[in-house]
């Protein structure tokens, strides 16, 4: 399968990328690792007329200790996250889940920023960033702004980024390396999650987020509330499908996804409590 024809522009700086985005408008897409975008283009589910390749902006590959948080460059690849000692010590949950994305080949190419900006609710890492209340830095020709993770994921493959904005940095709190569990359910080893559930402890409170239970990654707020009120993991997990609207597709019905959410949240909570 070959993508539909497109013009290829290589950006050698962030400014060049955002200028090109402003010039070509909504028909243009940024290409980072391509692990999410290229499969969609091959299936002709995405048909951008211009691809702006930002994959060579190696300045945006980093995990830095920025005092009260960690700053991660948008083009940092999953393999880099997986092997980062800074991340392992300061934000172990993100390192651990990065190691569960796709497979080795995908992690060699795929980037954190690409995964976030793509806005696929089946992606693993956006759910982690949502649970951590991460902040995203967006650049356009008009300047820079930050967007909170709870405002960032708007719909299926849709984010709060404007057509002329590029995600440049992801900021995550330093939560150390204890207290997290990620349960990912799929049928083939390297597949996208049919449903995923993350439990992570931040400042003594357990946060729970869900993968592929709606058009965006979701916080399981009813579960979090039950836990805060003292419910046992198994009781709190019963609320996992509340306020979710999962899709039905070839891999699972919506009803089955809701069942999976309850089971996977329970398992994640029990692992965190153990």
């Amino acid at each position: 399968m070959i993508p539909a024809a497109f013009d290829y522009v290589r950006a050698d700086s962030i400014d060049a990328a955002t200028t090109a985005l402003a010039e070509y408008g909504e028909d243009a897409k940024l290409l980072a690792g391509g692990m999410s975008l290229l499969p969609l283009m091959k299936l002709r589910l995405a048909v951008p007329s211009v691809l702006i390749d930002v994959g060579r902006l190696t300045d945006l590959t980093y995990v830095k200790d920025a005092g009260d948080h960690l700053a991660i460059g948008a083009l940092t690849r999953h393999r880099y996250l997986e092997t980062s000692t800074v991340l392992a010590e300061q934000c172990g949950v993100l390192r651990a889940v990065a190691a569960e994305v796709g497979d080795n080949q995908v992690r060699h190419r795929g980037t954190l920023g690409g995964s976030v900006a793509h806005g696929d609710p089946a992606s693993d890492l956006p759910a982690v960033l949502l649970a951590l209340d991460a902040t995203f830095v967006a650049r356009s020709p008009n300047g820079e702004r930050t967007i909170k993770s709870r405002d960032f994921f708007v719909g299926f493959l849709e984010t709060a980024l404007n057509p002329d904005e590029m995600l440049t940095e992801i900021r995550v709190p330093k939560v150390g390396h204890t207290g997290y569990a990620y349960e990912k359910f799929n049928r083939r080893a390297q597949d996208w999650a049919i449903v995923g559930a993350l439990a992570t402890v931040v400042d003594g409170a357990t946060r729970v987020s869900l993968v592929n239970m709606g058009t965006t990654p979701l916080r399981a707020t009813a579960v979090e509330k039950a836990l805060a009120e003292g419910a046992a993991p198994s009781a709190a997990a019963e609320f996992a499908a509340e306020s979710t609207d999962p899709s039905s597709d070839v891999t699972a019905t919506a009803e089955y996804r809701k069942h999976l959410a309850r089971v996977l949240v329970r398992r994640a909570l029990e692992r965190v409590a153990a």
């Binding site: 290589r10 391509g34 290229l38 499969p39 080795n104 080949q105 060699h108 080893a189 390297q190």
Partner: protein, 162 residues
Amino acid sequence: MSGMIPAVLISMAVNGSTQAHEVEPRTLLVQFLRDVWGLTGTKVGCDTSSCGACTVLVDSESVKSCTMLAAQADGASITTIEGLGDAGWHPVQNAFHTEHGLQCGFCTAGMVMAAVSFLAENPDPTERDVRLGLEGNLCRCTGYHNIVKAVLKAAESMKVTP
């Protein structure tokens, strides 16, 4: 959309030899390697980045070449199954031979390339590490057992003769 999309000029080293070619931007790396370079050892399996039959090394790291544009590999150093051994077979190829790590052979090139990259990152793996490390490669004959044995054997042999 414009009628004529400008070609991109790309240059890369494949198995140690460098060539420049003009390609359509949408040319996939696997197409480029098979159709332009004539290196048909790299297979197109699922064509949806699931099966790993198209795995090659891009700057020493395993990549699914059906899910990378040739233009993205401009300036890179590519190794395919044809360029793996310096003189004769690579230890991973030897191990696949002696452990009979193949049945129909269609996934083999991709398995070998994925294993080479995996072992570079994990020189002393357990059996479980190998199974996880090759999760991006499917064998349609389901012949995984000997493939895992072969990768473990290759790890041993590469320790003895680095």
